[in-house]
């Protein structure tokens, strides 16, 4: 007897939509309580298109195949001591930033898509969100496994889940995802599915994965390839959700536009960490942050928003400000970590002359005028044995929680201060973008767990820096401070001295 096989389209219809039903014991509104309060109107859930038409059984098969390939590479990387072959010991700090700052976000995204995959009424988006939820969990796992090889030799990696909930700068990605996950399922889908995974994703993955390739980190490159086909499915889901919402009802447009404005700005602020990684932390540079911004936001985003204009959607508010800031944020962020190196979970260093010249060439309009003198002053102080530290805690933005280090649009010599009053309390912001987000939902952001204020309130292990570092599980003297003089540098130099001896 021959088994009759179903076509892809039929299989998809049976295995997703065909498994869905209208509830009768309970009204649908009680079964799906979360998909109406945000004001989004959906007339016809079946109009949802899924270009991938992926069913769960095929999904498992694909993913298992990718896992086998990835883990074979990871095994051989470990057996060959691949960690000794990267460009420089400094490179590992980019991985520390990734594991502590980005990987926990994969987990948060897993939880968020699991929520959307439960609470959206349509079977099409529900299945797509469930698959993305599994992808995100797989990304966290594979990132942890990939980077665990480095954890055997380098500091700053072992406490990443603990640090994520406590360390001052990790509150930036944490609060980003907390904000998205505490919204309704539609806002979550626009926040993470569209704004982050579609509009901004290339600015996250290309820098880290190309950075890994340029710096000889083949394990992370392989992880990147393993995640790539998932990412293209996520991008498709992101673009599908925005088109679906805009096609369903004209009343959805202003709501979607507001979410796009908010999440573009929040994403831009978060990506400042990537900007700093690209311009300062990669021993072998891929391209500057400004170049990446031009390619992946100005050009790619430009044509995307041209395409979406037919729905009445305009490019995100303050996109022009973000583009202006592409000249500045990497320098401003690395300066934050340079002066707070004693409280950072990775190492910092002074850019050398070749590096400064590269920055001058990549940022001809601004670097020599505003930032090179800052590095020269600090280099001079280092030479005199008076390495510059900031011994006070910084003022933080109430929305993005980043130290208020960003300057006025149009004037890089003046900090951008914005503030607002709510129920006779004062709140401070780094930008109009962050202030608008607060003003739209102040009751949400007055609850923010601000790392500096929490230290002052006595909730972080004590009043001194060593107290707080101990509460962070940050190993003072090993995880923090400059690369030069660190245990990381020592082990790196030992490996390379050994290689040099063998070569003779």
């Amino acid at each position: 007897m021959t088994v009759k096989k179903l076509g892809l389209r039929q299989r998809y219809a049976h295995m997703t939509r065909g498994l869905d039903w209208e509830t009768t014991y309970q009204p649908m509104d009680s079964v799906f309580p979360y998909d109406s309060f945000e004001g989004i109107k959906v007339k016809d859930w079946s109009a949802w298109e899924d270009p991938f038409r992926l069913t769960m059984d095929t999904y498992w098969k694909f993913q298992a195949e990718k896992e086998r390939k990835l883990y074979a590479v990871l095994d051989s990387f470990a057996q060959n001591n691949g960690q000794t072959g990267v460009s420089d010991g400094r490179y590992i700090n980019a991985l520390k930033l990734f594991l502590t700052g980005i990987s926990p976000g994969e987990y948060q995204a897993h939880r968020g898509f699991a929520f959307a995959g439960r609470h959206l009424r349509g079977a099409g988006p529900r299945v797509a969100a469930q698959m993305q939820s599994l992808d995100e969990l797989r990304h966290l796992q594979t990132q942890v496994h990939t980077i665990s090889q480095y954890n055997k030799f380098f500091d700053g990696l072992s406490e990443f889940p603990h640090m994520h909930d406590r360390v001052w700068y990790l509150s930036v990605p944490k609060s980003f995802f907390d904000d998205a996950r505490s919204a309704g399922p539609f806002e979550y889908m626009i926040a993470i599915g569209f704004s982050f995974e579609y509009v901004l994703t290339n600015l996250l993955f290309v820098p880290f994965m190309s950075g890994a390739a340029y710096n000889g980190d083949m394990s992370t490159v392989t992880f990147g390839f393993s995640a790539q086909s998932d990412e293209s499915r996520h991008m498709t889901l992101g673009i599908e959700v925005i088109k679906f919402l805009l096609e369903q009802h004209p009343d959805n447009l202003p709501i979607v536009q507001k979410w796009l404005d908010k999440w573009f700005w929040r994403g831009h602020r978060l990506l400042g960490l990537v900007a700093m990684m690209m311009d300062y932390m990669l021993p072998k540079k891929v391209m500057s942050w400004k170049e990446a911004w031009e390619i992946y936001f100005t050009e790619a985003g430009g044509s995307l928003f041209q395409d979406l204009a037919r729905y009445g959607l305009r490019p995100p508010k303050y996109a022009d400000v973000a583009t202006q800031e592409a000249e500045h944020i990497s320098h401003q962020n690395w300066a934050v970590f340079y002066q707070y190196t004693h409280a950072a979970g990775f190492h910092t260093w002074m850019p050398d002359k070749e590096h400064l010249d590269w920055l001058s060439a990549k940022y001809p309009n601004t670097f020599d005028k505003y930032y090179r003198p800052r590095w020269e002053m600090w280099a001079e102080q280092e030479k005199q044995g008076k390495r510059f530290y900031n011994n006070a805690l910084p003022q933080l933005c109430q929305t993005c929680q980043i130290p208020m280090a960003y300057t006025e649009p149009g004037d890089p010599t003046v900090i951008c201060f914005r503030s607002t009053q709510f129920q006779s309390e004062t709140y401070h912001f780094c930008s109009d973008g962050c202030k608008d987000i607060f003003d739209d939902e102040p009751e949400k952001y007055v609850q923010a767990w601000m790392p500096v204020q929490q230290i002052f309130q006595g909730n972080c292990g004590g009043a001194t820096i060593p107290d707080v570092l101990a509460w962070y599980n940050l190993n003072n003297g090993a995880d923090n401070l400059d690369y030069v003089g660190s245990p990381d540098e020592k082990i790196w130099n030992e490996w390379h001295a050994e290689n040099a001896r063998k070569a003779v």
Binding site: P373, Q395, S419, D439, E443, Q457
Partner: protein, 122 residues
């Protein structure tokens, strides 16, 4: 605008996490030295509201900015002050409270003729 939430009384589930009462008698004061951006952002301090403004300058502000080569050259009598956006001449003998400072006030100050390392605002 109120938060769009699944419950109609969202604010009943919230707390203002940084209310003054949570700081054990202190208020948070932000201080920023203009044109000296090697200090990346304004500095935050929890301080008793009864502290004299002069003590804020000599015991808090001056030592925390001492790492800058311009710091030793500051003439405090010529400093220009803005408190919460308004130009002010603080009374050094009076308390922070009497000088109009409240929880989460921002003090910005300019030091004439000192514009950062090599005049770069750094």
């Amino acid at each position: 605008m109120p938060v769009t939430a699944i419950v109609s009384d969202y604010e009943n589930y919230t707390e203002t996490r940084d209310a003054q009462k949570n700081f054990h008698g202190n208020i948070v004061i932000y201080v920023h030295w203009e044109e000296h951006l090697s200090f990346c952002s304004a500095l935050a301090f929890p301080l008793p509201p009864a502290m004299p403004f002069g003590a804020l300058v000599s015991e808090v502000i001056a030592p925390h900015y001492a790492a800058h080569p311009d710091a030793a050259k500051i003439d405090w009598s010529t400093v220009i002050w803005r408190i919460d956006g308004e130009k002010k001449t603080p009374d050094f003998g009076a308390s922070l409270e009497a000088n109009g400072l409240h929880h989460k006030s921002l003090i910005r100050f300019w030091t004439p003729f000192l514009a950062g390392y090599a005049g770069s605002a750094s």
